[in-house]
């Protein structure tokens, strides 16, 4: 037989190890205290007020709410508690004895009580997430029914209610599992590609091959290349990807000694674009040909930017336009104006709603993730191509999950869907 001390220690260990145990143990603990004298409601909010049973000129005070329970809100940082109760028997549409409920809170079972909120009749639940609620501190709650005849506090108080922080949001298991799976695939194939030393196979992407062709054409015609890295800031992955590709493009233009123009919308991509172009010229062994003014900061304002870029197209007549990155409404303006100048145009974006405009008006278009594959494709680095393989495998997993989910839903099993839906 265990001693009391050993049993207590084991209980504490279990509480610490078993998730949900504290919540399970911290179910409503109802403490019965003698009901105080009923007195009328005071107009002042936020403090307990004296009450009178016949303040409404003979109208009786409503009967109290019953069965108050509390529960810690799960998967949060200990900032909220849920309360539920049974409605007062006078909470009906026909008898106007009850107007609503006051939610009262105290740090002691006997008070002093503070009004947390007031609720309309018919409401039987409340989430206390007021800024004054502190985690890991025990609170006691009471529900007061009020009406024209006065305020009736609940006969019982519930508590000690404690808001507890959780270390893991259990509703996000599916997101965590799939994210970890993707990361595992990507890292595995990066390691494997680096270990083997050979580049995994990537199918031909005509749009990316066309970039060198476009630069070659511009060189033959003696005209510059225009590179537009999208209109969003550096926090957009498409912009990051486009700037990475810019280095390869700059290296090619440096090799062919073709001028390059790069108008940019935001300051941070502007400085990075300068570094990428400079890096490209360095890699091509022509640092002396690098012109810092080839990268121009234009404007973060969408249509001001497109007006500037179309102006560059009409005046400088670049022979090749490369639009890679995040685009919005200006995509057709850029592509159609570019077509009118007779330039060869290569575009790529992951903004699906702009793809139709690029497909119609440009010679080559990179669709969606082909843009993210471009840097790996151009550089041929095993680790970058390895990450493509990882993402492709994840796509296969999603495909299988979608098919399995459709089948299960058709058969009436909703478990997989419910597990996948983020709560």
């Amino acid at each position: 037989m265990l001693s009391c001390r050993t049993a207590s220690v084991l209980a504490i260990l279990l509480l610490g190890i078993v998730p949900g145990a504290p919540a399970a143990l911290a179910q409503s603990q109802v403490i019965i205290v003698p009901p105080p004298v009923i007195q009328p409601a005071s107009p002042s909010a936020g403090s307990e007020a004296p009450r009178n049973a016949t303040a409404g000129g003979g109208t009786p005070a409503p009967r109290p709410a019953r069965g108050l329970n509390w529960e810690d809100v799960p998967d949060d940082a200990g900032r909220a508690l849920d309360l539920t109760w049974q409605l007062s028997p006078d909470d009906t549409l026909h008898l106007p004895l009850l107007q609503g409920y006051h939610v009262m809170r105290s740090e002691n079972p006997g008070g002093p009580w503070t009004r947390v909120d007031s609720l309309a009749a018919g409401v039987s639940s409340y989430r206390d997430q007021s800024v004054t609620l502190r985690r890991d501190l025990p609170y006691f709650y009471r529900i007061d029914a009020f009406g024209p005849g006065g305020v009736t506090p609940q006969g019982s108080v519930t508590g000690p209610a404690i808001a507890v922080s959780q270390w893991f949001n259990h509703t996000r298991w599916s997101v965590l599992a799939l994210t970890m799976l993707l990361f595992t695939f990507v890292l595995f194939f990066i390691q494997s590609a680096q270990g083997e030393g050979k580049t995994p196979f990537v199918r031909r992407i005509p749009g990316i091959d066309a970039i060198e062709e476009a630069i070659g054409r511009a060189t033959e015609m003696g005209r510059p290349v225009l590179y537009v890295p999208g209109i969003q800031d550096i926090d957009e992955m498409q912009t990051v990807q486009s700037l990475i590709i810019l280095e390869s493009v700059a290296k090619t233009t440096a090799r062919y000694q073709t001028p390059l123009k790069v108008p940019v919308t935001y300051p941070i991509p502007f400085t990075i674009a300068q570094e990428m172009v400079k890096g490209g010229y360095l890699q091509a062994g022509r640092p002396e040909q690098y012109d810092p003014d080839c990268v121009q900061f234009v404007s973060p304002e969408q249509f001001a930017y497109v007006a500037a870029v179309t102006g560059i197209m009409m005046r400088d007549r670049p022979a090749a336009h490369i639009f890679l990155g995040a685009f919005f409404a200006e995509s057709l303006l850029l592509a159609e104006t570019g077509f009118a100048t007779g330039a060869i145009q290569v575009a790529g974006t992951a903004n699906a709603n702009q793809l139709p405009f690029f497909v119609v008006a440009c010679d080559y278009t990179l669709i969606g993730e082909e843009l993210f594959a471009a840097s790996a494709y151009l550089s041929g680095e095993p680790k970058l191509v390895g990450s493509l393989k990882g993402a492709d495998l994840m796509k296969l997993v999603i495909l299988v999950v979608v098919l399995a989910g459709c089948l299960l839903e058709t058969l009436g099993y909703h478990g997989l869907t419910q597990w996948l839906a983020t709560q």
Partner: protein, 216 residues
């Protein structure tokens, strides 16, 4: 150190923010909130930096009389006028009747709307010039385009009002948007999202580091 420190900061904060999505505990959520607020401040500062950069680059070009310098002068004048007027008018610069409001309503708003309106003309010319039905798939695409274009406007339903409701152009267009278009869109969204996540992982872990500096 020049490259290692930014890589370390990127990795640490990137991984921490991913963690904050799964861990609600205050040990993680409070610093995560701080980083979110810092991001708001950095973005706001970026706008100021951008304005200063714009002024510097264009002023240099005007002083050196580079090609197109009169246009740059107009740009500088516009920038300075807006900033000065806003500073003079202070906190209430957006109230009715102020000069800032007049510039916004009479200059910025119509110019912005006019640029957006150009799309209507360009769509028509692009449709005439470039939408070629050379393959069966392109034919199918053209058919879907006709049905959706006509179904999304009242004329489409007016022309087919004599048909049962499910066969009217509006319903057909709605079905095309809800079923085949939805499926294709989802596929592109999933693929693009995976691309974003894989690129993000490479950036966070420092596998992709060429964006930091062109020098190896």
């Amino acid at each position: 150190m020049k490259r290692e420190f930014p890589l370390f900061v990127t990795a640490a904060i990137g991984l921490f923010m991913i963690l904050s999505f799964f861990v609600p505990h205050q040990a993680v959520s409070v610093p995560a909130d701080f980083f979110q607020q810092s991001a708001v401040i950095v973005v706001a500062f970026g706008i100021v930096l951008g304005g200063a950069n714009l002024l510097r680059v264009n002023l240099e070009a005007v002083l050196k009389r580079q090609a197109g310098w009169p246009y740059r002068l107009v740009l500088i004048a516009g920038l300075l006028v807006m900033v000065l007027v806003g500073l003079i008018e202070g906190r209430d610069f957006q109230a009715a009747g102020t000069r800032s409001t007049w510039i916004y309503d009479q200059v910025y708003s119509p110019m912005s709307s006019a640029m957006f309106a150009l799309l209507a003309f360009f769509i028509a010319s692009a449709a005439f010039r470039a939408f070629r039905i050379r393959t069966p798939e392109a034919g199918l695409l053209a058919l879907a385009a006709f049905l959706v274009m006509l179904g999304r406007v009242p004329l489409g339903n007016a022309l087919t009002a004599w048909l049962p409701e499910d066969l009217r152009l509006g319903s057909v267009a709605e079905w095309i948007l809800r079923v085949p278009q939805n499926a294709a869109n989802r596929a592109i969204l999933i693929g693009a999202a995976l691309g974003v996540m894989a690129t993000g992982l490479r950036v966070i872990l420092g596998i992709e580091r060429s964006y930091l500096s062109g020098e190896e």
